[in-house]
């Protein structure tokens, strides 16, 4: 057992946990943040549990919760600072970038990080960025379209901010 202190979605938490507890289960079971999904029984292949650790998209089934001690975690519940939809979420809504929605939180968390690094992505870059996220419904066409649209929305809103 170990005592950990971490920040999740801006809120500070302190918990006594088992060393072997995976971060994804800590988020889901201890903090009830069930938007982070388990799609592949913790095998690290589906990407549905993608979160941000200190801003970087990582799979939360690939980390022990104790490793997040002292760090900053953002989950899908904290992606939007004001509770509304981010440009990325709005673009997924507009372009119907999902069907069953199970993989969507992981894809949004990965693509949010991807777009900060690649503000003008090509289709090839988007598809390369999506390799770590499996979607078994859409065939990715609408997802790629939604990410492209989000990049444009982000660029337009940045432009509006400047003018």
């Amino acid at each position: 057992m170990k005592n950990i202190k971490l920040t999740v979605n801006g809120e500070k938490f302190e918990e006594q946990i088992d060393n072997r507890l995976l971060l994804v289960d800590f988020l889901r079971d201890n903090l009830s943040l069930t938007g982070t999904h388990v799609g592949c029984t913790y095998e690290g292949v589906c990407g549905a549990c993608t979160i941000h650790l200190d801003g970087d998209a990582v799979k939360s089934c690939m980390l022990l919760a104790v490793q997040a001690d002292g760090h900053n975690v953002t989950t899908i519940e904290g992606l939007s600072a004001d509770g509304g939809l981010t440009n990325l979420q709005q673009a997924f809504n507009d372009e119907h970038g999902l069907q069953c929605g199970y993989c969507t939180p992981g894809i949004l968390m990965n693509m949010a990080d991807f777009l900060t690094e690649n503000p003008n992505p090509s289709e090839e870059q988007i598809r390369h960025g999506l390799i770590g996220n499996l979607c078994r419904c859409t065939g990715y066409v609408h997802i790629v379209r939604a990410v492209k649209k989000a990049a444009k929305m982000l660029k337009d809103s940045a432009h509006e901010d400047r003018t």
Binding site: R20, A57, M62, Q67, G132
Partner: protein, 292 residues
């Protein structure tokens, strides 16, 4: 798939503390955890059941790339995503960048490290192959204080096996900077994009002042034995200018001297064909990069 009981978890912030922790545990009890993108899989599947995990994430001193005058020294905890972005790797060491850019996926590259990859030495892994072609040196410190420098040819012993002992910690991987023009490249082919390599090949060439090859190193992976040198492919390149005949002789020599297995991913013949096509491409790219 879930970890077995882990009695202790430590996150030391200095190499000295790591060595002390290693020394305080019996052999087989403790495990050094770098990025964890392979080791956590082994822990969850219970192939590994460490009683004590020593997390290396607190070692800031292992997270830097030092571009020195004669060597490039990459800290063991430098992540793939940082290798890809580093301008220090732009000239002689692009082959390592090629490898790092296509390991797993974005999430893996955001967490996985060069040190973790070379110490794990998975049967089909890109980074050890690139490090072998680039003649990297592994810098280790043992829990009794001994400092060891092991060259890649002696370090990679086979799948999941290296010359690193359990009482060692890898500090950095260094590469000598070539005084004359040199270039490197890596490419793999897998069943899906960026998957583990069915065949992966890295090439390094050094050119003399006339532009002819005076040193060549080729390494490959995907033959079931981990990263391996393909010395047979190096000889035909020596003295050449990277012409198609020399490159073809190099890849044919590799095929003639390699034991390419047949498995669920590919037949032996198909692997030979991959060696010919990927091999020709990476050798030519290495020559082109050396010439520009």
């Amino acid at each position: 798939m879930y970890p077995a009981e882990i009695k202790e978890y430590h996150k030391p912030d200095s190499v000295e503390q790591v060595l002390e922790l290693i020394a305080n545990h019996e052999e087989g009890e403790s495990l050094l955890l770098a990025g964890g993108q392979s080791a956590m899989q082994a822990i969850k599947s219970r192939m590994l059941r460490p009683q004590c995990i020593i997390d290396l994430q607190g070692l800031q001193e292992l997270k830097t790339i030092n571009d020195e005058s004669e060597t490039l020294k990459i800290g063991a905890m430098v992540r793939y995503c940082e290798l890809v972005k580093s301008s220090s790797l732009n000239n002689n060491f692009t082959g390592l960048k090629d490898a790092a850019a296509h390991v797993g996926d974005r999430q893996v590259r955001n967490r996985g490290t060069i040190g973790g990859s070379v110490c794990w030495n998975y049967a089909a892994a890109c980074t050890p192959t690139a490090v072998l072609a680039l003649d990297g040196n592994m810098h280790l410190i043992s829990s009794d204080g001994e400092i060891k420098v092991i060259c890649a040819d002696d370090f990679f012993l086979g799948p999941l096996d290296t010359a690193k002992s359990e009482s060692d910690i890898l500090i950095s991987v260094s590469f000598k900077k070539s005084k004359t023009r040199s270039g490197s490249a890596y490419k793999k082919w897998g069943l899906v994009k960026d998957a583990l390599p069915v065949v992966g090949i890295a090439a390094f060439v050094k050119l003399d002042s006339n532009g002819s090859c005076c040193e060549a190193r080729i390494a490959l992976t995907g033959m079931g034995v981990g990263a391996q040198r393909a010395a047979a492919g190096e000889t035909p390149l020596l003295g050449s200018y990277g012409d198609p005949q020399s490159i073809e002789a190099a890849t044919e020599n590799i095929c003639a001297n390699i034991d390419a297995p047949t498995d669920l991913s590919a037949t032996s013949d198909y692997r030979h064909q991959l060696i010919r096509s990927i091999g020709a491409e990476v050798i030519l790219t290495a020559f082109k990069r050396a010439s520009t």
